[in-house]
Amino acid sequence: MKLRRDVFQAIADPTRRAILLLVATQSMTAGAIASNFDTARPTVSKHLQILTACELLEQHQNGREVHYHINAKKMKEVADFIEPFRQMWDERFNKLEVLMKDYKKPSP
């Protein structure tokens, strides 16, 4: 239960949410992540530490560099991270359905 609360605290912070958004598209080094923020680098490191500690982020060694990437499994556990993707497509398909129900063949 403690961990669960920590995860929600982790994603309640706007900088940490921005970090999650950044690494959602590609894995990145701490330096590359920090370069996206005006915040001091040690502050960004602290955020990375928190996100890694609650397993929302994972680290992997890439040569001499450490890359951070989203832990999809954990995201799924905390918030069913597939659901927003499903909803995005569901909304598009709902629009398609409404649009085509009204569709009349253009008169020649």
């Binding site: 994603i11 706007p14 949410r17 921005a18 999650l20 958004l21 959602a24 598209t25 590609q26 894995s27 990437h69 989203i70 999809a72 499994k73 995201m75 918030a79 991270f81 597939i82 659901e83 927003p84 993707f85 499903r86 909803q87 995005m88 497509w89 569901d90 598009r92 398909f93 709902n94 629009k95 398609l96 359905e97 649009l99 085509m100 129900k101 569709y103």
Partner: protein
Amino acid sequence: MEQKTKVAAEEGTQEIIMTREFDLPLELLFKAYEEPDLFEQWMGTKVLKMENKKHGSYCFETSYNGEVVFRANGTIHEFIPNERITRTFEMENTPFPVQLEYLEFAKLTDSTSKLTMHMVFKSVEFRNNLLAMPFAQGLNGAHNRLQDLLSNQHHEEAK
């Protein structure tokens, strides 16, 4: 209530299989994909090019406040009306590599149809990253809406 749009993304695989049943005859469902002006309306994007034939290509872009925020293109490998579209899909200016998409259109009854969209990614990680995008954007959505609201107010005051 059963969900109309279903997403299957098995752990450790590099694919997404999405299915959706429509209260539409097969021909109307397919037409929504075939006609650029209809496609634009339900996808909320602008179609720059759409050559619906083997070896044809397509390109679309989405703007927000007059600025292009998203552009995607691809090549069509198979285009069989009311049956199948096989195409590549590439988001421009993103780290995502090109993905492969199989769209199968099937008739259920005279007035209902089903779409199966099978997307194949370069790696498990890219698949997961794509799935995570709307989630991550959702986290930021509330924040962005607030910013929009504030900057709009600012514009109003400046007038």
